[in-house]
Symmetry: C2
Subunit: 424 residues, 2 copies
Amino acid sequence: MSYLNLSKAELEKEREVLLKQYENYKSKGLSLNMARGKPSPEQLDLSQAMLDSVKSTDSCISSDGTDCRNYGGFDGIVEVKEMFSNIFDTESENVFVGGNSSLNMMFDTISCFMTAPIYEDTLPWHDVKDRKFLCPVPGYDRHFGVTGYFGFEMIPVPLNEDGPDMDIVEKLVSEDDSIKGIWCVPKYSNPTGITYSDEVVKRFAALKPAAKDFRIMWDNAYAVHDVTDTPDTLLSIVDECKKTGNEDLPILFASTSKITFAGAGVAALAASPLNMKVLKKRLEFATIGYDKVNMLRHSKFFGNYEGLLNHMQKHKEILAPKFKTVADKLNEDLTDAGIAEWTNPNGGYFVSVNVYKGTAKRVVELCKEAGVVLTGAGATYPEGNDPNEENIRIAPSFPTVEELSLAMDIFCVCTKLACLEVLV
Amino acid sequence: MSYLNLSKAELEKEREVLLKQYENYKSKGLSLNMARGKPSPEQLDLSQAMLDSVKSTDSCISSDGTDCRNYGGFDGIVEVKEMFSNIFDTESENVFVGGNSSLNMMFDTISCFMTAPIYEDTLPWHDVKDRKFLCPVPGYDRHFGVTGYFGFEMIPVPLNEDGPDMDIVEKLVSEDDSIKGIWCVPKYSNPTGITYSDEVVKRFAALKPAAKDFRIMWDNAYAVHDVTDTPDTLLSIVDECKKTGNEDLPILFASTSKITFAGAGVAALAASPLNMKVLKKRLEFATIGYDKVNMLRHSKFFGNYEGLLNHMQKHKEILAPKFKTVADKLNEDLTDAGIAEWTNPNGGYFVSVNVYKGTAKRVVELCKEAGVVLTGAGATYPEGNDPNEENIRIAPSFPTVEELSLAMDIFCVCTKLACLEVLV
């Protein structure tokens, strides 16, 4: 029965029961971590053979004859540009392959536009003193970190089941030319796991921003990262923008961090010729080319895009039971109490839980004291400011199913306890 | 006998002889490249076993237990920080290990200071409208490219046998607070191959710049790159700056691009705590950490710093005959004519030749027509502006000794021909 319908005496009784469970967990001296979307060692092992794929001198030569050990190959080797063109659903000439981090490429993209104007008649963003960026919430803390670092005022926009609230997005960007962009994780969004609907993608492609240099940071981090047999599908923003003549609106990002190695993968971006011109004008001074041997490792390991997709099935086999554990525990332990809501994503790396309003920090604190580390409360909002103080991001990938099961038991107890502290 | 003492008839005769030689070379349809400081395949082969050093799951763990395949390890793995601390002659806590390119780290450093002030009471360099940078000449074209991209006025400073002309450097930086830094390749300078004298390093450490946020970009690219048995030694700028209380002046850069793989090495920077604080404030939003698996490959391959130094002996064995070939050819073919000067470096990647004034472009053009590609004339000066139009950079590393020998024959013929075109 919902806590909200219980008498004070009943709530106090419930609290006593939970406190005993909590003290029991605390006494175990556990150390469990559901804080970051880190692949588990078992997942990393799936790509171990990749380290063997480039060894001999001959194996260091890419398909067009480039010696990947040497300088050159500015925008990446042909076969990996091709691989990412499949992920991005765009032509391979629009792809630039970078180092080991798409976050780094997003940071550099914003950094580029801070000092280099996108058009001859627009300002470098550094010179736009009241520069702003739209931030769908809850969202990815590291995105908000980038625009925060560069001094943008960050405007939260509600993220619904089908994507950002487009009524609000359309209104804001059409009215204010100091709004220079929006952060998007269009598939299996971090942290709610939702995928933008076809209508939302079409509305993004049809935006008419007041700022000519408004850009959509389209972080397709989980493009091929399904965890169920009913995967979401995402409309191609590139195709839709071609139809609307808005090709220059989006810049796309992806990486193999959660395909091969989180610390030693390959990242890439895709952009229209105009955007690429501005970015490459910077990149040609910033680098002679990124690590081609590591690119080659990836292409040799996967063979082709189908090989990559088959590889993702193995990740799914490892991740699916973990997502199921989280869902089962939340359903079993929190449904009746009626004090929390959560998502059931078909892919990605996170489950998003809204606990009882105003108790997120307390839940995280209680969990921590019992040895369970969660992402900090508020992290999913710009500058950590969750107005309802309710959202908590759960990352099920790193712990084992057994650890996760225990961690979720503790999380559910803490969620209920924190709520009862308010209600009693 | 020097061309300058020959009669017009003698010069014409000489020219006829040379033209025949030149046409003969041209007819061969050669394709030789002395343009960039690229290691040869033979040099790259020296590190082939490195690709085998990290394979099994166990071998992916760094000395402090970090799984290098996963996220984390922001400033680099302990053992590689240690390796670079030896190269930089500084404490390993002052080292930050990056991706595959020190050029990229230099670019990011300037990019950082463009939008983030180094001190609370200084401006981001983007806001210094008349920002300037000192460029010792001849110097490295990619350095000048970075400050050119960011809109600095670049002031050339003569590079002497013992380093930049410090009288000029001291005068300029003490007078003009819009001068924000200077590019330095202190050991085996690109392209002249000279190493800064102890006195020059001490004078750098004792600089009293008008700009509080003036920085020395100390690109120690060739720290361990000797090609003779009489190597140069470089005083530690870090130690000297400690003595003068100027610890925040230099930022040091290095990489293994010319130690292991030019396209897949590891780069690092070293900076004082104050500089590191400004840089890390940016880096912590720009990356979760660079490729640790590749860092680990390097440390396992070398074992320790001595292993790295031993490895450099093998490069020396390959490079020494090439540098000797260049020196011999220049001595044999150009000494008598008395129309050119060149350097005889003890290390690094280049030989710098000053051809007859005003003929550098023509020499490069003649060489190109005969199938020998050189670095573009002027490349060693900011914005390609060599006032005497005389400097040409020769990169002997990539061709074989046989190819180099032929390429130098052609270079010498072209140098003489271009001069004769003026004199006759």
